[in-house]
C-alpha cells in the first residue's frame, strides 16, 4: 500500500457553537483525483482552508507527504508542494498576468532576497510561467493587467498560478464556479490531462465535471464524511442520493 | 518612600486613568464601529478645555460653562463629521490619518490665533476647592477626587448604555461587523453620527474636567492622544471594557513609574545612575508594556472584530 499524499485524522473545527468540521478522517492517495462534494454549508471550503493552512483546526492532524503539517503556516505548506486555487479568484489584480504566475515560480526558484535586477525580466521565472499560462490557455493575455481579465480568464489564471508551483498536491476549490459551458469543458480537458501527473483534491458542484474527473469521491454532509468511494458507488448510494445527489441530478 | 506618598500617587494614577478612559472610550468606539482612525480626537479634548475657559469668562459659573462647552464641542464635532469625516469612512487608513492630522495642525494653530499661545487657566468650582485629609495628615485636592468620581460614573453609565440599551446593542454589533448591521436595515449613517458625537462629548468632557488642574495651551491634546492610542491598542479596538481596564492600568503604571522609578532603581544601582536612568525608564514603561501585550495578543486584550 503506497503512502497517502494527504492524511486527515480526526479533524474538527467549530465556529462558536457551530460544528463546521466534524471528526473528518480521510486519505488521498498519490496520483488520484479525489473529489469532495456536498451541499452548500457542508464545510467544504473550511476543510480546504484547514488543509492549506489558512485556518487552524481545533482538533486533529494533517499529514502531508508523511510529515505532520498541522502547525505549519500556509507558506511553509506551499513550499512543501501544497498548492491551491481559490473559489473566489485570488490574484494580484495590479500585476500583469505573467507576473502573477512568475511570482509562484519565484517562490521556489532561488532566493527572493535579491534587491537588484528587474524581476519582471528574468527568463528563469518567465519561461516556466509562460508554460503554465499555455497549459491553461491564456498565454495570449500574458501582458495584460490581471484585474482586467474576464471572470473565466481569472479562473484560468488561478489554475495557472497553482500549477506553476509544480505541486505534489493541488487543491482545487470550485474551479468551475461561475464559468460558462465552453470554458468548463476546457478546464475539464486540462484536468484530465493532468490526471496521474499530480495528486488533486477537487471541490465542485458541477456533477458532470466531478464524474468525468474523479477517481474517488468523498461526500461531505454537515461537516462529516458520509461516504468515500468510487464514483459509481457514490452515485448509487441511497443516503447520498437522498441527502444531496437527488436534487443535483434533477 | 512612605505609605501616604504611595497612596497619593495611586490616586493620581487613577485620576490619569479615568481621564484616559474618557478620551479612549470615544476613540475606541469610533474606531471599532466605523473603522475610522481619528487622530483629531486629541484636539477635541483640547477644544473642550478652551471652550470651558471661554464660556467661563462669559458666564462666570463652572457648571454653566461646562454645559455650554460640552454642547459647543458636540456641535463642532458633528460639524467636522458632516463636512469631512463622513467622506472618509470608506477610504483607507492612510487617507484618514492624513486628513485628521491636517485637522490637528489646523486646530492647534487656530486656538493659538484665537486665544494666543500663552497657557490659560480655569478656576476650580467653589464647591470643590480645597483639600481633603488622607492618612497621616497628607492633603489631597478635592477636585482630583471629583475627576475620579465623575470618570467612574461616566464609565458605569457607558457600560450600562452599551450593555443594556438597544442603541448600545447596535453599537456593539456595529463594532463587530458594521456592514452586517447596515445590511439588516439599521440607519448606519445615523448610528455613526451618534457614536461620533458621543465620543466627541466624552473627549470634551475630559478636557473640561482637567482644565482647572493643568494649563490650557495649544498642543495639550497631542501627548494624551498618544496615551489614549496605547490604551485602546492594549484594551482592544472597539472594546469599552478593554479601554477601561487598559486606561486604569496605563494611568497607574505611568504615574507610579514616574514617581518611584528612581527609588526602585536605587535598590539595584547607585543613586547617580539611578537618577539618570530613572526618568528614561519611566517614560519607556508604558510602551514596553504595550509591546509585550501586543506581542502576546496582537489584537489587544479584548478584541471585538469579527471581520
Amino acid at each position: 500500500m503506497p503512502e497517502p499524499v494527504l492524511r486527515l485524522e480526526g479533524l474538527r473545527k467549530n465556529f462558536g457553537s457551530l460544528v463546521v468540521t466534524d471528526d473528518i478522517t480521510l486519505d488521498v492517495m498519490p496520483g488520484e483525483m479525489h473529489a469532495i462534494i456536498g451541499p452548500n454549508g457542508a464545510g467544504k471550503t473550511t476543510l480546504i482552508n484547514q488543509i492549506s493552512g489558512l485556518i487552524p483546526p481545533d482538533e486533529g492532524k494533517i499529514l502531508f507527504a508523511g510529515a505532520d503539517v498541522t502547525a505549519l503556516p500556509p507558506e511553509a505548506r506551499a513550499l512543501r508542494g501544497l498548492s491551491r486555487s481559490f473559489q473566489i479568484s485570488s490574484i494580484l489584480p495590479g500585476f500583469p498576468v505573467l507576473e502573477n504566475v512568475a511570482l509562484a515560480v519565484q517562490a521556489r526558484e532561488g532566493s527572493s532576497l535579491r534587491f537588484f535586477g528587474r524581476a519582471a525580466d528574468e527568463t528563469a521565472l518567465n519561461a516556466p510561467a509562460m508554460t503554465a499560462l499555455e497549459q491553461t490557455g491564456i498565454a495570449d493575455r500574458a501582458h495584460v493587467r490581471a484585474g482586467e481579465l474576464s471572470h473565466g480568464e481569472k479562473r484560468a489564471l488561478e489554475l495557472a498560478i497553482a500549477l506553476a508551483m509544480k505541486p505534489t498536491l493541488l487543491l482545487l476549490d470550485e474551479p468551475m464556479a461561475g464559468i460558462g459551458r465552453e470554458e468548463t469543458e476546457r478546464q475539464v480537458e486540462l484536468l484530465l490531462r493532468l490526471k496521474g501527473q499530480l495528486t488533486m483534491i477537487l471541490v465542485e458542484h458541477d456533477m458532470a465535471a466531478v464524474f468525468a474527473l474523479a477517481d474517488r469521491i468523498s461526500v461531505l454532509i454537515r461537516g462529516r464524511v458520509l461516504i468515500t468511494g468510487m464514483p459509481d458507488e457514490v452515485r448509487a448510494d441511497p443516503q447520498v442520493v437522498a441527502a444531496y445527489l437527488g436534487a443535483q441530478m434533477e | 518612600m512612605s505609605g501616604t506618598l504611595f497612596l497619593v500617587q495611586v490616586l493620581n494614577g487613577l485620576q490619569l486613568g479615568v481621564l484616559l478612559f474618557l478620551i479612549a472610550a470615544g476613540l475606541t468606539l469610533v474606531f471599532g464601529v466605523m473603522d475610522f482612525i481619528n487622530l483629531a480626537h486629541g484636539v477635541q479634548y483640547m477644544l473642550g478645555a478652551y471652550l470651558a475657559v471661554a464660556f467661563y469668562g462669559v458666564v462666570g459659573n463652572f457648571l454653566a460653562a461646562l454645559i455650554l462647552a460640552l454642547l459647543a464641542a458636540l456641535a463642532f464635532g458633528l460639524l467636522l463629521e458632516f463636512l469631512i469625516f463622513r467622506h472618509l469612512y470608506e477610504r483607507d487608513h492612510l487617507d484618514q490619518v492624513i486628513a485628521t492630522f491636517g485637522i490637528i495642525l489646523f486646530l492647534n494653530h487656530a486656538v493659538r490665533v484665537i486665544w494666543g499661545a500663552a497657557p490659560l487657566t480655569l478656576p476650580v468650582p467653589d464647591f470643590f476647592t480645597g483639600t481633603v485629609v488622607l492618612m497621616d495628615g497628607q492633603l489631597y485636592p478635592v477636585w482630583r477626587l471629583v475627576i475620579i468620581a465623575s470618570g467612574l460614573v461616566v464609565a458605569a453609565s457607558l457600560y450600562g448604555l452599551v450593555s443594556f440599551t438597544r442603541i448600545g446593542m447596535l453599537v456593539r454589533a456595529g463594532a463587530t461587523n458594521a456592514r452586517m448591521v447596515s445590511a439588516l436595515g439599521v440607519n448606519i449613517e445615523r448610528l455613526f453620527m451618534i457614536v461620533f458625537g458621543f465620543g466627541t462629548m466624552l473627549a470634551g468632557f475630559a478636557g473640561i474636567m482637567i482644565a482647572p488642574i493643568i494649563s490650557v495651551e495649544p498642543g495639550m491634546g497631542d501627548n494624551i492622544l498618544i496615551l489614549a492610542f496605547v490604551v485602546i491598542v492594549i484594551g482592544g479596538i472597539g472594546s469599552i471594557r478593554g479601554a477601561f481596564l487598559a486606561a486604569l492600568l496605563i494611568g497607574l503604571v505611568d504615574t507610579l513609574g514616574r514617581s518611584f522609578s528612581i527609588d526602585i532603581l536605587r535598590l539595584m544601582m547607585g543613586p547617580s545612575p539611578a537618577r539618570m536612568a530613572g526618568p528614561a525608564i519611566a517614560s519607556m514603561l508604558i510602551y514596553v508594556l504595550m509591546a509585550i501585550v501586543l506581542y502576546v495578543r496582537p489584537a489587544g486584550l479584548f478584541p471585538t472584530r469579527g471581520r
Binding site: 519565484q106 493587467r145 | 519607556m284 504595550m290 489587544g300
Partner: protein, 331 residues
C-alpha cells in the same frame, strides 16, 4: 500602487519615458543647479533650504518604500531619523567625529531599532500597526528628552560637521550640499532598484493580496521586516545628514508630529512613486518657507489644504500633474 499601468494589452510593460526617466533627471538637475542659482542671485539661504529638502527627501523616500510599496503605514519613521542624528551627536560629544564611524553607527543603530520594534509591530495589522509604530516613536522621543547629559529637552549642539577620513570636507555649505545630493541620488537609485527586484515584487504582491502570496509560499512578515529594517536604516542615514546639516540634535527630530510631517511629504508628492517623496519634501518645505512669511501660524492654512488634498487630490502633486498631462493630449 504597484508601478506603471501597461502600455497596451498584449505588449510588455514599456518604460514611460516622461515619468520614469525625464522626471527624476529633471528633479536632480534642479537640485544640482540650485547652488549656481543661489550664487547668481546672491540668495545663500537657498543652499540651506535645498539641503534641508534633500535630507528630508532621503527619509521620505524610505518611508514611501514602506507606505507606498509595502503597504505599511508607519507613523514612527521620525524615530529612525532621530536615532541617526543622535548617533552623530553623542559620538561627537565624546570626541568621535569622523563620518567613517558616525555614518555606519547611525545606520546600524536605526536598523537595530527597526528590527527589534519591527518584530513586535509586524505582528499587528492595519490600525494597530499604525498606532504601535506611533507609540514606539514616542518611546524614543521620551528617552531622548530624558538624556540630560546630551541636552535633554533642549538638544545638543555639535561642535562641527563630521570629517571624512580626518578631512573637514563637509565644512563648506556648498560641499555639504553636493554631498547630500549624492546621498539622495544613491538612496533614490537604491530604492528604484529595490522596488522592481525580486524582493520588491514580493513586497508589492504582499500588499495587494497577502493570502495569495502566502499560499504561493511567501512569508509576508519576513519580507515586511526586511523592508522595515531597510527603511529604518535609510531613516538613520537621513538623521546623519540632518545632524550634520544643522550641527544640532534635538528630541524634536523624533516627535510624532515630525513623523506625521514625513507622511505628509510622501502623500503630498504622490504615494508609491518614490519621485513623489522627493517632490513632496521639496513642496512641503517650500510651503513652510513661503506661508510662514505671512503668518507664524501657517499651519492654520496648511491643515485644511491637507484635508482638501485627501478629499480631492489623491495621488498628490504627481497625480495632479499626470491628470493635467493626460488631459492636454499626451499618452
Amino acid at each position: 500602487m504597484s508601478g506603471a499601468p501597461l502600455a497596451a494589452p498584449g505588449k510588455p510593460r514599456a518604460l514611460r519615458p516622461t515619468r520614469d526617466v525625464v522626471l527624476p533627471i529633471l528633479m536632480f538637475l534642479v537640485f544640482a543647479l540650485l547652488p549656481l542659482f543661489a550664487l547668481l542671485t546672491a540668495k545663500q539661504y537657498l543652499l540651506d533650504i535645498g539641503a534641508r529638502m534633500m535630507v528630508f527627501a532621503v527619509a521620505a523616500v524610505a518611508l514611501d518604500l514602506l507606505v507606498g510599496y509595502a503597504g505599511l503605514i508607519s507613523f514612527g519613521h521620525a524615530a529612525f531619523v532621530g536615532l541617526g542624528a543622535y548617533a552623530v551627536g553623542i559620538l561627537s560629544a565624546h570626541g568621535v567625529d569622523d563620518a567613517l564611524i558616525s555614518l555606519p553607527v547611525a545606520i546600524v543603530v536605526s536598523m537595530l531599532f527597526a528590527w527589534l520594534t519591527g518584530v513586535v509591530c509586524l505582528r499587528t495589522k492595519g490600525a494597530y500597526f499604525i498606532m504601535i509604530t506611533l507609540a514606539f516613536g514616542q518611546m524614543v522621543y521620551f528617552i531622548a528628552t530624558s538624556l540630560a547629559p546630551y541636552g535633554g529637552d533642549n538638544g545638543l549642539t555639535i561642535a562641527a560637521r563630521n570629517t571624512i577620513v580626518g578631512w573637514p570636507l563637509l565644512k563648506s555649505d556648498r560641499a555639504f550640499y553636493y554631498f547630500t545630493l549624492l546621498c539622495l541620488l544613491a538612496t533614490y537609485l537604491f530604492c528604484r532598484a529595490l522596488v522592481v527586484s525580486r524582493f520588491g515584487r514580493v513586497l508589492r504582491g504582499t500588499r495587494e493580496n497577502a493570502t495569495r502570496m502566502a499560499t504561493i509560499g511567501f512569508d509576508a512578515r519576513r519580507f515586511q521586516l526586511f523592508a522595515y529594517v531597510i527603511a529604518g536604516g535609510l531613516g538613520g542615514f537621513s538623521g546623519f545628514l540632518l545632524a550634520n546639516l544643522t550641527e544640532f540634535v534635538s528630541p524634536a527630530y523624533m516627535s510624532w508630529q515630525q513623523s506625521g510631517e514625513l507622511i505628509v511629504m510622501v502623500i503630498l508628492g504622490g504615494v508609491g512613486t518614490l519621485d513623489g517623496a522627493i517632490i513632496g519634501s521639496a513642496a512641503y518645505l517650500l510651503a513652510e518657507e513661503w506661508l510662514s512669511g505671512f503668518t507664524e501660524n501657517w499651519k492654520v492654512i496648511f491643515g485644511p489644504i491637507l484635508v482638501l488634498i485627501v478629499l480631492f487630490a489623491r495621488g498628490g502633486l504627481i497625480g495632479i500633474a499626470s491628470r493635467l498631462w493626460r488631459r492636454s493630449g499626451h499618452a
